[in-house]
C-alpha cells in the first residue's frame, strides 16, 4: 500500500514537471499572434510620433500647442464626461429596480438590454441619425407638442453625439451595477430602517455608499470607452465636431501624417491606461464584486 502511494507520487512528479513546460508552450501560438500583430504594430506607430518627420518631440508640441487640437481634446473629454454622468443617473435607478423587481418583468428588461447591446453598432447609430435629423421624429414630436417652433439642430453636433453614445453605453453601466446591487444584503437596509433611518437617509447613507464601487467602476469603464469611440461620433457629430479617435484616423487616412497620428494615438493610449490603472488600484477586481 505504502509503496504504491510512493510510486505514484514519484511517478507524478516527473510528468508534472514536463507538463509545466508544455503548458507554457500551449500559449505560444496566441502569444506569437499578439506580439506580431498587436504589440509590434502599436510600438512602431508610437515610435513614429518621435521620429517623423524629424526626431524629437515636435509632434507633441504641435498637438498640445494648437487651439484646434486642444478643442478636439476638450470635445472628447466633455462628451465622454456627459455620457458617463447621464448613463450613471439613468443606470443607477434601472439597475436598482432590476435587482428587486419580479423576475418575470426583469427578464423582459434584460432581453431588451441584450438586444440593444447586440444589435449592430452602425444600425443603432443610423437609427439616431434618422431620429434626430431636422425633419426627424423627435423634432416633429417637440413641435407637435408646442415646445419649440423651429426644429432644433440635434445632429451634426455634440448634442447628437452625446445622445447616441449614451444610448450605446447605458447597458455597459446597468449590467455591472445590477451585479453589485444584487449582492448587497437587504438585511443591512432593514437594519438602517430599524435604527430609524427614513428612505432618503437609507438611500444616501447606506445604499449609495454600498453601490459606490460598482458605480465608480462602471463609470470609469464607460468614460474610457467613450474617449476612444470612433464610429458614433463620426456619424452623429459631423466634421466640425471631431473627437480624438476621428482625429487619429484623419491624420493617417486623409493627411497621411504618421508622426501626428502616432502622437495622438499615444495621448489616447496614455489616458486610457492611466484610467485603467486608477481602476485597478482603487477597485481591484476582487474588491469590485462584493461590497
Amino acid at each position: 500500500m505504502l509503496s504504491r502511494t510512493d510510486a505514484r507520487a514519484e511517478g507524478s512528479k516527473i510528468p508534472a514537471h514536463r507538463l509545466r513546460l508544455t503548458d507554457f508552450d500551449l500559449t505560444l501560438p496566441a502569444l506569437g499572434l499578439l506580439v506580431l500583430f498587436f504589440v509590434v504594430p502599436v510600438v512602431i506607430l508610437l515610435a513614429r510620433s518621435v521620429t517623423e518627420p524629424a526626431p524629437g518631440l515636435g509632434n507633441y508640441a504641435e498637438l498640445l500647442g494648437s487651439s484646434t487640437y486642444l478643442r478636439i481634446f476638450a470635445n472628447t473629454f466633455i462628451v465622454s464626461g456627459l455620457v458617463t454622468v447621464v448613463s450613471l443617473l439613468i443606470g443607477f435607478p434601472v439597475a436598482w429596480a432590476l435587482a428587486i423587481m419580479p423576475s418575470r418583468l426583469a427578464s423582459v428588461v434584460f432581453a431588451i438590454l441584450l438586444l440593444s447591446m447586440w444589435t449592430n453598432l452602425l444600425a443603432r447609430t443610423y437609427a439616431w441619425m434618422v431620429l434626430l435629423q431636422r425633419t426627424g421624429v423627435i423634432n416633429k414630436l417637440l413641435i407637435g407638442m408646442g415646445l419649440i417652433d423651429k426644429p432644433l439642430p440635434l445632429v451634426n453636433n455634440l448634442t447628437g453625439v452625446t445622445i447616441g453614445m449614451t444610448y450605446i453605453m447605458l447597458p455597459f453601466i446597468i449590467l455591472p451595477l445590477y451585479g453589485v446591487i444584487r449582492k448587497i444584503d437587504p438585511a443591512i437596509l432593514q437594519a438602517a430602517a430599524l435604527c430609524g433611518a427614513n428612505r432618503w437617509q437609507a438611500l444616501v447613507r447606506v445604499l449609495l455608499p454600498l453601490a459606490m464601487p460598482g458605480m465608480a467602476a462602471g463609470a470609469l469603464m464607460v468614460f474610457v470607452m467613450s474617449l476612444g469611440y470612433f464610429v458614433t461620433p463620426a456619424l452623429l457629430g459631423g466634421t466640425a465636431n471631431m473627437m480624438l479617435a476621428e482625429l487619429i484616423a484623419q491624420f493617417v487616412q486623409s493627411l497621411v501624417n504618421w508622426g501626428m497620428g502616432g502622437a495622438a494615438a499615444l495621448v489616447l493610449l496614455v489616458v486610457t491606461l492611466a484610467l485603467y490603472a486608477v481602476q485597478l488600484r482603487f477597485f481591484g477586481t476582487d474588491r469590485m464584486g462584493g461590497r
Binding site: 509545466r20 508544455t22 503548458d23 507554457f24 508552450d25 500551449l26 500559449t27 501560438p29 496566441a30 499572434l33 499578439l34 500583430f37 504594430p41 502599436v42 506607430l45 435607478p93 434601472v94 436598482w96 429596480a97 435587482a99 428587486i100 423582459v108 431588451i112 438590454l113 441584450l114 438586444l115 440593444s116 444589435t119 449592430n120 453598432l121 452602425l122 444600425a123 443603432r124 447609430t125 437609427a127 441619425m129 434618422v130 431620429l131 435629423q133 416633429k140 444610448y167 447605458l170 447597458p171 446591487i181 437596509l189 430602517a193 428612505r199 438611500l203 445604499l207 470612433f230 464610429v231 456619424l235 487619429i248 484616423a249 493617417v252 497620428g261 494615438a265 489616447l268 486610457t272 485603467y276
Partner: protein
C-alpha cells in the same frame, strides 16, 4: 426596505417608471428602423405614407451589398474557428500552467479588448501597408482574430476554471490517454464556454467596423464597411433594410443562445 420590492411604497412606481422608460428608449429606435425599412418614403418620413418592399429589392439586387455580406460571413466564420481553437489551446495553458508571469501573460491576452480599437486599426493599417496585407482576406482575418481572441480566452478560461480537473485525471487513471481524456471528458464539460467563445468571436468579427474601414479596398469590403460608406453619402432607406436584416440576425442569435443555455442546463 429599499431592497424589498413590496415595501418600497410610491418609490416603487418611480423606479418602475424610469426602468420602463429606459427600456423603451433602448427598444424604440430598433423597432423604428425596422418599421422605416418597409416605409415608402425616400426621406424616411415617419409614420410612412405607404408600405413597400422596394428597399429590400434594391438591397438584394445590388451585387455589392451581397458581395460585402458574403465577405463578412467568410471572415467571421474563419475568425470564429481560429479564435476558438487558439482560445482552447491557450486557455488550457493558462489555467493548468504554473509558470512565471502567468498573470501578466493573461493580462496581455486581454489587452486588445480594452484598448481603443482605433489605435489598433491605425497601427495594423501601417504595418499591413509594409507587408502588403491591406485589402486581403488574410489581413481582415488576422486583425479580427486579434480582437476576437480575448473574448474566446476569457470564456474558455472561465469554463475551465470551473471544471474539476480530477475528473479528467480519473479518465486517465481508467486508461484514457491524456489527449483522449481532454477530448472526451473535459471538452464536453466546458462546451458552454466554447459556445460563448464562438458566439462572441463571430459577433466581434461580423460587426467590427473600425479596423475594417482601414483594411478595406475598393474591391474587398465587409458589410459594416459598405453600410459606413453608404451612410457617409446619404441616409437612404436601403440602409434601414440592411439594418433590419442585421437586427433579425441578432434576434436569431439571442434565441439560439437561450435555447443552447436551456439545453446545457437540463
Amino acid at each position: 426596505m429599499l431592497l424589498n420590492f413590496d415595501r418600497l411604497g410610491w418609490w416603487k412606481l418611480v423606479l418602475i417608471g424610469i426602468t420602463l422608460l429606459t427600456a423603451a428608449f433602448l427598444l424604440l429606435p430598433i423597432l423604428f428602423i425596422a418599421a422605416l425599412s418597409f416605409g415608402s418614403s425616400q426621406w424616411l418620413i415617419f409614420p410612412p405614407p405607404g408600405w413597400t418592399l422596394k428597399w429590400y429589392q434594391e438591397l438584394l439586387a445590388d451585387p455589392r451589398w451581397l458581395a460585402s455580406a458574403w465577405t463578412s460571413f467568410q471572415i467571421a466564420i474563419i475568425v470564429t474557428v481560429l479564435s476558438v481553437l487558439l482560445g482552447l489551446v491557450t486557455s488550457f495553458g493558462l489555467t493548468r500552467g504554473r509558470f512565471m508571469f502567468r498573470e501578466a501573460l493573461k493580462a496581455l491576452f486581454l489587452t486588445p479588448m480594452i484598448l481603443p480599437v482605433v489605435v489598433l486599426a491605425v497601427a495594423l493599417y501601417a504595418f499591413f501597408l509594409q507587408i502588403g496585407l491591406n485589402g486581403t482576406l488574410t489581413g481582415f482575418v488576422i486583425s479580427h482574430l486579434v480582437l476576437a481572441l480575448p473574448f474566446s480566452i476569457l470564456s474558455i478560461t472561465n469554463a475551465l476554471e470551473g471544471f474539476d480537473k480530477s475528473i479528467e485525471d480519473a479518465a486517465v487513471l481508467c486508461g484514457a490517454s491524456p489527449l483522449e481524456a481532454k477530448i472526451r471528458v473535459t471538452l464536453p464539460a466546458i462546451s458552454h464556454g466554447i459556445f460563448s467563445a464562438a458566439i462572441f468571436s463571430f459577433l466581434t468579427s461580423w460587426d467590427e467596423v473600425v479596423v475594417a474601414i482601414f483594411m478595406a479596398s475598393p474591391t474587398l469590403q465587409t458589410l459594416p464597411v459598405k453600410v459606413w460608406a453608404t451612410l457617409r453619402q446619404d441616409l437612404t432607406p436601403v440602409v434601414a433594410a440592411a439594418s433590419t436584416l442585421l437586427i433579425l440576425l441578432t434576434v436569431l442569435l439571442m434565441v439560439l443562445v437561450a435555447l443552447v443555455r436551456k439545453g446545457l442546463k437540463s
